[in-house]
């Protein structure tokens, strides 16, 4: 088994160098693939390797002449990966020492992906947000490495859709054509939910292997407040279509819960001028897939989800009136 580190980057060479230096120290990665998503200053693989103390040729660099977003960058990297497994990671986040320990324990284990915990710097203490921590508790996942039970899967699927909190089997992504959406933000939702839909065997670890540096200074992709956030609906429709297949039944209600939270999160991060368009889009999406919200019992959040969905559809009615 071998592991690649895949990093999309745009105008963030200094932080990328810090990350690559961490990767060198951990001695965990057999391949490093960097996708320069149209940086103003051209990156050079040899310079990156030298700055991080890596051997020349250690960094495989792919370049987009203009920015196509982190999702397109990750997708472009996938054909270049030569290892059995890969970790997507962001240039401005940090690896922790537990990443090396997790990878050691994963060797010779059969899995499609392994989701691990991370530290969210916007949350108090060292660890997940309270919301994600609650989902982990509900999932029953506990310990340094365990297999996620079928009962736990609907809960953990609802955690934040980060691309960098999972080690994927490369063949799993390729065989199921699992990719990021090629949109400016929320691109990782497709990767996350498609993975949960297709995975045969999911491992989970409560090791904190990544430190997610939440920046609120408006300089990062995730700080966008413009109408590009509304491109999320096309991707959500595609996931919904896949969930409509029989194998998606167990994840429909969790996905309905997830999207109603997502809409609220988008509104919080969206300029108010675009709120009517968001409400109209959310209402259309929920109306198109309303059947999901009438699932029979057995998933205890359904009434809550139904109430949230009703509020969004009501807002959509007001926005289009």
């Amino acid at each position: 088994m071998s592991l690649a580190l895949v990093v999309p980057v745009r105008d963030d060479a200094d932080r990328l160098t810090t990350l690559l230096d961490q990767a060198r120290i951990l001695e965990t990665f057999d391949q490093i693939v960097v996708v320069d998503d149209g940086s103003a200053d051209l990156l050079h693989a040899a310079d990156l390797a030298a700055a991080a103390g890596l051997t020349p040729g250690a960094v495989r660099l792919i370049r987009h002449s203009r920015s196509r977003g982190p999702g397109a960058a990750r997708n472009a990297a996938l054909p270049a990966v030569t290892t059995s497994h890969l970790l997507f990671f962001d240039s401005d986040d940090h690896l922790t020492g537990d990443m090396a320990l997790l990878w050691q324990s994963l060797r010779d284990r059969d899995f499609d992906f392994c989701q691990f915990r991370h530290n969210e710097t916007s949350a108090p203490g060292w660890g997940l947000t309270a919301w994600d921590a609650g989902l982990w508790r509900a999932s029953g996942a506990f310990g340094a490495l365990t297999q996620l039970s079928p009962e736990g899967r609907p809960w953990l699927a609802q955690t934040a859709c980060y691309p960098w909190n999972k080690i994927y089997r490369t063949g799993f992504l390729r065989d199921h054509a699992i990719r990021c959406a090629e949109i400016p933000v929320h691109e990782d939702i497709a990767l996350h939910w498609s993975g949960y839909l297709a995975a045969r065997r999911i491992l989970v670890s409560d090791r904190i292997c990544a430190n997610h540096i939440v920046r609120t200074d408006g300089t990062r992709e995730t700080n966008r407040r413009g109408p590009e956030r509304l491109k999320v609906f096309g991707m959500l429709d595609e996931i919904a279509a896949r969930l409509a297949a029989p194998e998606g039944e167990g994840l429909r209600a969790p996905f309905a819960s997830f999207v109603t939270h997502l809409f609220s999160w988008i509104r919080f991060n969206l300029a108010s001028a675009h709120h009517p368009a968001l409400e109209a889009g959310a209402g259309r999406f929920l109306a198109a897939h309303a059947g999901w919200l009438d699932l029979p019992g057995g998933y205890r959040m359904t009434p809550v989800v139904r109430a949230r969905a009703a509020r969004w559809m009501q807002a959509a009615g007001a926005a289009t009136a």
Partner: protein
């Protein structure tokens, strides 16, 4: 004239090779953290480096333990019956505590649900038997990884004889179904 044979005046401690009575126990714990192990839990379960899980046979304890790399111990245990104890025993040496002031430990862990753990310093008696000196605070393990530190002031606790043929740090878990992770544990003697 023979000044060069005289010990140089140095800062206190520079020539001190006394690693303390807690060096041995912390070495045992380091071995456990650095190695990987797993197995079934029974009434007496010998872990690495002298650590032992002991359960009241009446509990009918079963389950599995694991020592993942970089962590001390994970326990997933079920009790079929009703019993009085289930505990991790850690030999600490420190037979002579005459010159020591404080015995303590620091640990970090979590559990799938709230689990109170009580710790004691157990001292063997010269004629057999033992005496337990419990730490004042409970360790409260819960879903969020958390730290705990506690210490005993030795001169104020009659339950701790100055000299004993053996001593153990004992962590008592609730004698029931439990899932917990003891990620780290270190002992200090001051």
């Amino acid at each position: 004239m023979l000044r060069w044979l005289m010990p140089a005046r140095r800062a206190p401690g520079l020539q001190n090779l006394d690693l303390g009575a807690h060096a041995d126990v912390n070495y045992r714990l380091a071995i456990c953290r650095n190695d990987e192990a797993e197995g079934e839990i029974a009434d007496v379960t010998e872990l690495a480096a002298g650590l032992v899980l002991r359960a009241d046979p009446a509990l009918g304890i079963s389950g599995r333990y694991a020592s993942p790399r970089g962590r001390l111990l994970e326990i997933d245990a079920t009790a079929r019956g009703t019993g009085d104890w289930f505990a991790l025993h850690l030999p600490v040496g420190a037979e002579n505590l005459a010159d020591q002031g404080v015995f303590g430990f620091a640990c970090r862990g979590s559990a799938s649900e709230f689990i109170p753990v009580r710790a004691c310093l157990r001292s063997g008696g010269r004629l057999g038997g033992f005496s337990d000196c419990f730490f004042d605070k409970h360790i409260l393990l819960h879903a969020t990884d958390s730290s705990h530190v506690d210490a005993i002031t030795l001169q104020t606790r009659d339950e701790v004889p100055q000299k004993a043929p053996w001593r153990e740090l004992v962590l008592f878990f609730p004698p029931r179904r439990l899932r917990l992770s003891l990620a780290d544990l270190r002992v200090f003697l001051v």
